[in-house]
Amino acid sequence: MTVGNEELVKSDPLVVPPRFQISWPSLTGWIVSVAVLLALVIPAALNGKWEPFTLGTTWTFLWQGLWVTLQVAFYSIIASMIFGIILALGRVSPLKIISIPSVTYIELLRALPSYLIILYCFLALPKIGLSLDALWLAVIGLTLYTSAIMAEVIRAGILSVEKGQLEAAYSLGLSPLTTLAQIVLPQAFRRMMPSIVSQLITLLKDTSLAAIIALPELTRQGRIIYNQNNNVLETMFVVAMIYFVFCYALSLVSRKLEVRKHR
């Protein structure tokens, strides 16, 4: 809708319902939906078994799990960025001996469930003589998967840098490596930031899959708590809200970066 039209549209009740105006149907809608949400929340809050969450020990236990979760996510995202850059550069390489393995890796790993990859690492790596801590197995599994996705994000970022930038850098006498490091990658990274942050959200949620390889991260700790106290829904709600705080905060960051990109 253009600016000139706005006045006209507002004065015409037929076209678009005016937004910020208190009307009876709208007010009723608000009351009904808040009532629905409260009707769901209040019985759960009153009938649930929340006593374990009044104890400090429960929260210490969850905090230990959260710390492991954050560590796994941190190491995995750093490693995925590094391997992602290598794979992205490998994919655009003119040498077939480099580009074909890179493309194959990216396309295959992207097409597989991260659950499968983590479990495979857990079961197969010890069989080839690599017995690692569950934390590192989770990091390896998540990195194998996330680096393939990162590679595509980074490649898209690199390709989004205009050709003129390259030509200008070359005509100034910069070497290809300097051009990449100082001209292309900094600009590409600024454009990729929203995607990288939203991939970090996915990664943070995927760390919960490490619970199946007995890593004592947040979800696993939650399982132990509900098995002891017999309160699945309450514990899973608390655990979900802990993930939610981190993921929602990250999604706000991602949205903010997206807005800045378009300015």
Binding site: S33, L37, R155, F244
Partner: protein, 229 residues
């Protein structure tokens, strides 16, 4: 005689059984999440603020919490409220609720990309609010978001593997079972990997074909979006 892959050949029956279950789960959850997604997307653009609130709470909660936690809550938690579900139904519900939140956001972005003139024209022709949505806006919006919906479908097929942790006997579950029965880890996982690739690779090719068909100028350019599901 013992050779690489013997355990898979011997147990091909249960693997195919699991493969079929994965397909059935994916198809049912795809339709359910599409239905949830369209309804929630419409709620989120509704003129009634309260509906927008409920839609937003649903989308943000399910998108920002792990699917595994949701699956545990549905499968182990609901029986405490007296609702006993078998793994397949619990898995379908969890997968549909999770994917539905993503579908809702995708469909909403499609609806918002339709020029306002379409709504104005439909309303001035005398169509009601619901009719405008159903006959004018949604058909165009869904067409635009077909490729991103395809990507969500691929992500959903991959996410269905998580349901093996609540005992849903799909492909991943059967692979794990084969592994623990025979201790042939490499054989079992090779079979499962091939099974997933048979499903996801053609879908991925289909999506890029669709992208090219709907938007020929942007062909061959990789997306900055990644696969954040």
């Amino acid at each position: 005689m013992d050779y690489f892959g013997k355990s898979v050949i011997d147990n091909l029956g249960i693997l195919i059984e699991g493969f079929k279950t994965t397909i059935a789960l994916s198809i049912i959850a795809a339709f359910l999440s599409l239905a949830i997604g369209v309804v929630v997307a419409v709620m989120r653009i509704a003129p009634t603020g309260g509906l927008r609130l409920i839609g937003a709470v649903y989308v943000e909660f399910f998108r920002n919490t792990p699917l595994l936690v949701q699956a545990y809550a549905v499968y182990f938690g609901l029986p405490k409220l007296g609702v006993r579900l078998d793994p397949f139904i619990a898995g379908t519900i969890a997968l549909s609720l999770y994917t539905g939140a993503y579908v809702a956001e995708t469909v909403r972005s499609g609806i918002l990309s339709i020029p306002t003139g379409q709504t104005e024209a439909a309303r001035s022709l005398g169509l009601g609010y619901i009719q405008t949505l159903r006959l004018v806006i949604l058909p165009q919006a869904l067409r635009i978001v077909l490729p991103p919906l395809g990507n969500l479908l691929i992500a959903m097929v991959k996410n269905s593997a998580i349901m093996s942790s609540i005992g849903l006997a799909e492909l991943m579950f059967q692979g794990e079972k084969l592994n623990s029965d025979t201790f042939r880890t490499f054989e079992a996982f090779t079979a499962v990997i091939i099974g997933y690739l048979i499903l996801t690779l053609p879908l991925a090719w289909g999506v890029s074909w669709l992208e090219g068909k709907l938007n020929p100028t942007r062909q061959a350019k990789p997306s900055l979006k990644g696969a954040s599901v």
